[in-house]
Each structure stands twice: as structure tokens, then as C-alpha cells.
Amino acid sequence: MATTNKEKLVQWDPAEVKAQLLEKYPAKVARKRARQIMINEALENETPEITANVRTTPGIITMRGCTYAGCKGVIMGPTRDIVNLVHGPIGCSFYAWLTRRNQTDAGPDGENYMNYCFSTDMQDSDIIFGGEKKLEAAIQEAYDLFHPKSIAVFATCPVGLIGDDIHTVSKRMKDKFGDCNVYAFSCEGYKGVSQSAGHHIANNQVFRHIVGENDVPKEGEYKINLLGEYNIGGDGFEIDRIFHKCGITCISTFSGNSTYDQFASAHQADLNAVMCHRSINYVADMLETKFGIPWIKVNFIGAKATAKSLRKIAEYFGDQALIERVEAVIAEEMPEVEAAIQEILPRTAGKTAMMFVGGSRAHHYKELFDELGMKTISAGYEFGHRDDYEGRQVIPNLTVDADSRNIEEIEVEPDETRFKPRKSDAEMKKLEESGYAFKHYDGLAPDMDKGTLIIDDLNQYEAEKLVELMKPDIFCAGIKEKFSIQKLGVPMKQLHSYDSGGPYAGFKGAINFYKEIDRLVNSKVWGYMKAPWQQNPQLSATYQWE
């Protein structure tokens, strides 16, 4: 709204802003946060070091969730034909019940447990005497009721503490059933420092228990896996549409609208395309080591990024037919995108955005705001690591602190029978010399302007301060942050669950996002925050009768 815009021809000095963010903290907290708030210098091409993936200070209101959320909620949640059984008190299962918008399509086989919530609902007796019996009975009841292909067991906080051996129970039931794969995840909420640990734990177990289980050959040309795409708001459906149009065969998605069989067959792909680097790069690495499948970083958020990623995949396969088909698809899809942006740009150009979300999304969505002519003046991750900010080159010298030390790193060997390099060393060399980058990710920082603020694990207090000082036109984070920001009169867009919108991936998704941002930053409602008697409260004026 004109009104809100007028109010804010804001000038801000990043150092000044940073200082004010820290002002109110106790010294110890201030020191720690100082290392997680970085003034970007991208244009000088020197990316300063940021502290990330460290514990949140107790009492500081954080955006972060827990390991269970990362494992059950994010990675395993979207898989439709696995019965996800939560072993613990009722809450953890209840809160993860349909609250992420990862869409699933029952598909021809008609198996879809997405709308169900399964729990052992542990009672005090189970805490005192142990919950293994109840878990075993619950697995049996689930099997008898549904006869699913697979049952996944998730541990919540108390389980680890009371020492229930969920893995042994799972193994026993798996052997008992024969036709149902049962396995468990020790993803107690207290592990690690954020959802991130949960992603890793999920990656490990999926790779250990499912990947490679199905060697029945999958048909199709240009076989890839799409890693780190969770089909929030139907993103995955849009990407599938594009792949299908391009003739690219997606063997498995980790894990949007996925099935047990997709995971089991993932080793048959010839390329792994990684969307969310943070949550899934472990699987990418393991698939390469064990089966010889190379991986590349892609991004289907943003029309240009989508085109770029499609070309990158085509270039990998190097097949002229594919390259031409991809170009044809891009040529067919872009006009609608350009028409939309032309119509909307005048209303969005020059506005500013802030994003604090996920472990890759803040970076991905910058693409879309760029396309809208909006500047991202501050961004950061909720559970990213240094490599997500600074690029993978920092990985070798990452220090692992006490909080992350116990998150299992599984050692993977090349599979005796099934390891098969997808390209000869020569081919790989050729591609790399032509500038093609495998296993490569530069991170967020290089894409951010100089002097913008990059902030890790932003908390509620800092969010408010930032908005107050830098007055963005839109702020992006999660549901917990949405309304405190909007109370300030700044539209807030959820980028975890997209509020009610989506898809935002691919070409059609980009158009949806343009329209959504247009709606948000130009809604009349932001002009109503003050009543007439608040706008001019003086009572001197005498009323003008007819």
C-alpha cells in the first residue's frame, strides 16, 4: 500500500543494525550471536566465516524444531505407502499429523497413509517398565489392519532414555512378517541442535534399510533421482510435469510423494539431482560411493533456475535429442512466465525481502525475488551448516562439536556387484573441464549483495528488531513467526509450508509465486491499521453537518 511504503524510505548501516541486534543480550549470548550474524561482502568475493549448526541458547525463542521433526516430519513424512509409527507419548505424533503440506497422490496402487497418525501413545507404565512390548503389539496391530509394504518406527525423547531397543523389535517383526519391511529411527528430539540431525539420521536408515532393495529393472530414458524435494504445495507435481515433458525419468524423489519402492530402486538411476542440499546430501554421497551415481546441485525454484537445472541435467546425459527437447520445453514454458512477470513487476520492483528458512530454501527463493525485482536485504537458515552459507569447499575443515558428534556417519563401501560408474573418468573429466560441476554447491553468501545481513538461527527477538530497523516489504519464515511479523504491518510469507499456496517450483510455480507476492505486498489491508481517530485524534474540529 502506498501508505506503508511512504513511511519507509529506510537507510540502514549493516554494522549499526548488527550492533542493535546484539545490544540487549547478556555478554555471553551476544558473543555467540555475533558469530552467527554476518555482514556479507560477496562483491569483494570474500565470504567471511559464519558459525552455524550450533546449539540454540536456552531461553532464546528460536524458530528451530527437533531431530524427530527433521527425521519423521521432513524426510519420512512424505512417503505415502509406509506406515510411520511413532513410538512415544501421543504429542509428537499428533503435532506431525498433516501439518506439513507435502502432498501425496494415492496413485494406481491406492496406498496412502498420509492422512493417518500412528502412535504407541506411551503411558507412564511404559516409561517405568519399558515400551518394547507395546511397540511390538502396535506394529502387529498396524500390520493386521493394513498389511503395508513397510512400517517405520520413530523414537521420541523418552525412548532413548529408557533404553527401548526399537531396532531389535523392528528386526524381529520384519522377520516375523516376511512381506513387510520394518525398521526404526533413533531420532530422539534432544539429539543434535536442530532438525538437521534428523535429516542425517533419516538418510542413514533409508540408505541402510531400503535403498537397493529392489533390483527389478526400471524402464525409461535419462534416469535420475530427485533428492531433497518434498512436494510442499505440490512443487514435486510441477517438477514431475516438466520432467515428463522433457522425457526425463525420475526413478525416485527423496521424498515428496514417494513410495517405498522408489527408495528401493534409487540405485538404478544414472544421476542424482540435489534440490535441498542440507537435508539430503548424505544420501547423494552414499549413492555415489556405493553405486557410482554422480550428483549435481539443482534448483527448480525460479523460472530461470528451473531452465538452468534442466539444461544441466541434459548436459550431463549429453544426448542431443534430450538437449533439444529440454530447449523446446523451456521455449514453450517461458512465454507465460514472462507475460506474468511483465504484468506484475511494476508492482513489485524495488521492494525488499527477508528470508529465514530451512537449510537451502532461503537461497532458492532468492531466485524468485530476483525475478520480481525485489532485493533480499537479509537472509539466513534455520538449521543450515557452514557449507550451506559458504559453499562445500569448507566441509573438510568443519569442526564437529559435542552436540553433533553422536550423529552417526555411516561408512559406505562400493557395492561388489552393483557398483557401476555412470561415466568413464574421461567423460567426467571432459564435463568438468567444460565447467560442469559435480558435487558442487557455492552456498547462499556469494549470491547475496554486499552489506546485506546473513543471520543463522534467527530468533524472534532479532526478527522483530530487523523488521523494525530495515522495514522490509515482505518477510519469509515459518508459521511461528508469521503473526508477530504481520502485527507490525509487514506481510509474512511462510516458506516452509507456503501458508495455503503453491506449487512455487518450476515454471507454473514461479507464476503462482509472482501472483502470491503481488497479492501480499499490495493488499489493501496494510492501509487499515490505524483508525481515523488514531490518524487524526484532535477533537478541536467541529463536525460538518450537511
Binding site: 549470548v29 527437533c66 499428533f94 516409561i127 530422539e188 528430539g189 508469521k482 508477530s484
Partner: protein, 457 residues
């Protein structure tokens, strides 16, 4: 079908809960704590709990929900959460400066056995609690009871703030139980009309139904003050609305502070509201103002005007015990037939009470405490209903079975209105009846054959 794997045949389950009709204690404690003015709820556990509770409450109210956590790490889980809690207390007071921190535990801190009393003492001794500020706490193990239990436990901790001076304050304590901000507002309106002095706790009105005005207040105007809570020990009596939500706090004040109490049903519907109003009248020895009698008469009027549409309609209910008991009585009083009633919260007294209330109904009632929505759905498949009442999760059943459906309870994640319009009291009864009639008559208008389509209903 959304719930395509739910079979009609019912098999008893001993270990597996499917589609729960409850959640865990801490969220109830958090909601109750938000009803204290200037209070920051604090979750003593790993940070996921707090994130989940805040998210759920935020979705239900479309309002900011502030709460902090002890952010347990693996270390804390092994060595105990005292260090985290102490650190949290000092950070909270220096960064957010609340009047009071209301700590609740989690399955994690309960399992490792953290002692909040001792931690608070240590914090106090170390000067981590500024003068005039306070920390209260409740033990809310997730593996006992339900969100209702957690609410009740935090409300009891609020009562324990009482500091009897021996001098009566002439006020009545009213414990509304887990109702919406709009309901608390309505209760206050009614009691003010009757002209009785009172302390309502908790009171989330003015906290969770706030305006959009361009400013964000972490601690809004509303909520019962610590000063008022201290004074509850001097009140002439306590009216606790709801055995499950409010009785413990009331009985504690009775035993410990000699403040007599009475536990009533939540004032949903005609008769329960009658009893609440008449109790206030008798206690205070006042006459009921015409305005209230008139509101009552309006509800009776609408019940009679639309009786042909409510008469013998079969209803399925799922929710929390106190609410379901009042709703069941309301439905029966309108000659409706609640045939399936499920709560996830344990308590045999619940099943007994529902059976009493439905004794004279022309249909046999199915009632289950510690049940789940999967069972409710199976019951419905075996005996279909004309109306379904429950929280947002019911809509999966409503769509699959094509049942008229009224959202009522917690959580409601897909509609607005519950923050603003009460369902307690006579006006609340009118609203509930309006909503039920709305969906029943919408269905009639949808399904009537053309020649039977009615202009006037």
C-alpha cells in the same frame, strides 16, 4: 477417499493409537499460562516440543504465540536440564522481561527427573529472578493423561500462587477451564451483568484474540494478573467449570486456603448455563438482570422455532471431556441424539456421565474415553449420523462419509470465528444452534428433490 484404509469392521486395539482424539500435556499447560498477564510460557525439554506447541496454537488462533524452551541437547538429557533452565531464566528476563515465567515439563525432563522446585530455588538464590518477577511451574509429563491434564496442572499451579492474607476479598474465583478467549470474555460479561466481583483464571481474552494495529506486543493487555492470583486465597469461593479442566485447582484452594468450591459443568447450552448463572445468583444473593433472562428466553425461543430440524437427529461427537459432557446435555435437551461420543482423554467417570445424560434417548449411545478418531470413524460407518461435531481433523471423516459437520473444540485450524464469537452462555448456545442448523439445512437444501425444495424453513 481421504481415509481409504479405515475398515468398517472394528477390531479392538491394545497398543496402537490411530488418529488420536487428544494430544500431550505440555500444550495445555502452555495455553493456560498464556492466560496470565505478562507471562512467558517455558517448555523444559528439547526445543521441538515448544516449536510444535507454538505452531499448533498459532494455527488455531492465527495469532503470535511466544514461548521459550530449555533447548535440551544430548548432554542435558544425560546430565539433567538444570543448567539449561537456569541459563534460560536469566536470558528470558534480560531479553523479554516478562512478569512471570510459567515452566512446564515434558516427557524428556520428567523421564530424567529434573526437579523444578529445586531449580527455581537455585535460580532465586543466584538472583536470576529479578525483584517483583516470578517463576511458576507445573509437572506435565506427556505420558500421563492428555492436553487437558496439562491444562489442569498449570491452572492448579496458578492457584498455588495464592497467598491468603486471612482477610476475605469478597470476590468469587471463576475457573473457566479450556475455553476460547471469546468464551472467557462472555463469562466476564455475564458475571459483570450479574454484578458479582470475581477473579477469572486463566483468562486468555485480550491475549489470543488481539487486533492488527501495526504494533506487536509480546505481552498484550489481557490475562489474569499475578496480583489477582495471589488474592485467590482470600476469595469467598471458587466456581470451577469442568471436572477435568478446573476441579484440581479449585479443590487445592479449598484444602489449602479454605476457599470453598463447587465444580459445575462448563456453561455450554441451556441447562449448564442455567446452573452456572443460578449458582452465581445464590452465592452473591443478587437478582438476575432482565438482560440475561431475556438472552435465555431467546435461546429457548430458537430451540422451539427450529425443533423440527433438530428432533431425533443423530450426532457424533469427539473432543474433550468437559466440553463433550456439556454439549451432550445440550443436544439431548433439544431432542437430538448423540449416538457416538469419543474423547482421547482417560477417565471412566466420563463414560458414566455420558451414559446418564443419554439414558432416555431412543438410541443406544456409543461412548469411549481414551478412544481415538479411527474408532469414531468406524462407529460412524456402522451407524451413520446426521451431524458430526469436533475439531478440524473431523473434516476427513465428514468428507469421506458426506456428513454435515460443525467445527467445535481444539484445534480448529481451517476456519475463523472461534476467537471472536463465544459458544458459552445463552448467546453461545444461540451460536452453536445456528451453526448446527446451518449445516443441517444446507444439506436439506442440497439434497431435497426439486418438487420438495423449500423456500421457507
Amino acid at each position: 477417499m481421504l481415509l481409504r484404509h479405515t475398515p468398517k469392521e472394528i477390531s479392538e486395539r491394545s497398543a496402537l493409537t490411530i488418529n488420536p482424539a487428544k494430544t500431550c500435556q505440555p500444550i495445555g499447560a502452555m495455553y493456560a499460562a498464556l492466560g496470565i498477564h505478562g507471562c512467558l510460557p517455558h517448555s523444559h525439554g528439547s526445543q521441538g516440543c515448544c516449536a510444535y506447541h507454538r505452531s499448533t496454537l498459532t494455527r488455531h488462533y492465527k495469532e503470535p504465540i511466544s514461548a521459550s524452551t530449555s533447548s535440551f541437547t544430548e548432554g542435558a538429557s544425560v546430565f539433567g536440564g538444570q543448567a539449561n533452565m537456569l541459563q534460560a531464566i536469566s536470558n528470558i528476563f534480560s531479553v523479554y522481561d516478562p512478569e512471570v515465567i510459567a515452566v512446564h515439563t515434558t516427557c524428556l525432563s520428567e523421564t530424567i527427573g529434573d526437579d523444578l522446585k529445586q531449580i527455581k530455588t537455585k535460580a532465586a538464590n543466584e538472583g536470576k529472578i529479578p525483584a517483583g518477577k516470578d517463576v511458576i511451574y507445573a509437572s506435565t509429563p506427556s505420558y500421563v493423561g492428555s492436553h487437558v491434564t496439562g491444562f489442569s496442572n498449570m491452572v492448579k499451579s496458578m492457584a498455588m500462587v495464592a497467598e491468603p492474607t486471612g482477610k476475605k476479598n469478597g470476590l468469587i474465583n471463576i475457573i473457566p477451564g479450556w475455553v476460547e478467549p471469546a468464551d472467557m470474555e462472555e463469562i466476564k460479561r455475564l458475571v459483570n451483568l450479574i454484578g458479582v466481583g470475581f477473579i477469572l483464571f486463566p483468562d486468555t481474552s485480550g491475549v489470543l484474540n488481539g487486533p492488527l494495529s501495526g504494533e506487536y506486543k509480546m505481552f498484550p493487555e489481557g490475562g489474569v494478573t499475578m496480583k489477582e492470583l495471589k488474592s485467590t486465597g482470600d476469595s469467598i469461593g471458587t466456581l470451577a467449570l469442568g471436572e477435568w479442566c478446573s476441579a484440581d485447582a479449585a479443590r487445592w484452594l479449598d484444602t489449602k486456603c479454605k476457599v470453598p468450591c463447587s465444580v459445575l459443568d462448563m456453561p455450554f447450552g441451556l441447562s449448564a448455563t442455567d446452573r452456572f448463572i443460578d449458582a452465581l445468583r445464590t452465592i452473591a444473593g443478587v437478582t438476575i438482570p432482565e438482560e440475561i433472562t431475556n438472552e435465555r428466553g431467546q435461546l429457548v425461543d430458537m430451540i422451539s422455532d427450529m425443533h423440527q430440524y433438530t428432533y431425533h437427529k443423530k450426532v457424533a461427537l469427539v473432543g474433550d471431556p468437559d466440553q463433550l459432557i456439556a454439549m451432550t446435555e445440550f443436544l439431548v435437551s433439544m431432542d437430538m441424539c448423540p449416538v457416538h461420543v469419543v474423547t482421547g482423554t482417560p477417565g471412566n467417570a466420563f463414560e458414566k456421565r455420558i451414559k446418564e445424560l443419554t439414558r432416555d434417548m431412543p438410541f443406544e449411545v456409543n461412548v469411549r474415553a481414551k478412544g481415538d478418531m479411527f474408532l469414531l470413524h468406524q462407529w460412524i460407518k456402522n451407524e451413520p449420523v446426521d451431524l458430526l461435531i469436533g475439531n478440524t481433523y473431523c473434516k476427513y471423516i465428514a468428507r469421506d462419509e458426506d456428513i454435515p459437520y460443525v467445527r467445535w473444540g481444539f484445534p480448529i485450524l481451517d476456519r475463523q470465528g472461534h476467537q471472536y464469537f463465544p459458544t458459552v452462555g445463552y448467546k453461545g448456545g444461540l451460536r452453536l444452534l445456528e451453526k448446527m442448523l446451518g449445516v443441517l439445512l444446507d444439506r436439506k437444501d442440497r439434497d431435497d428433490q426439486e418438487q420438495k425444495f423449500e423456500l421457507v424453513l
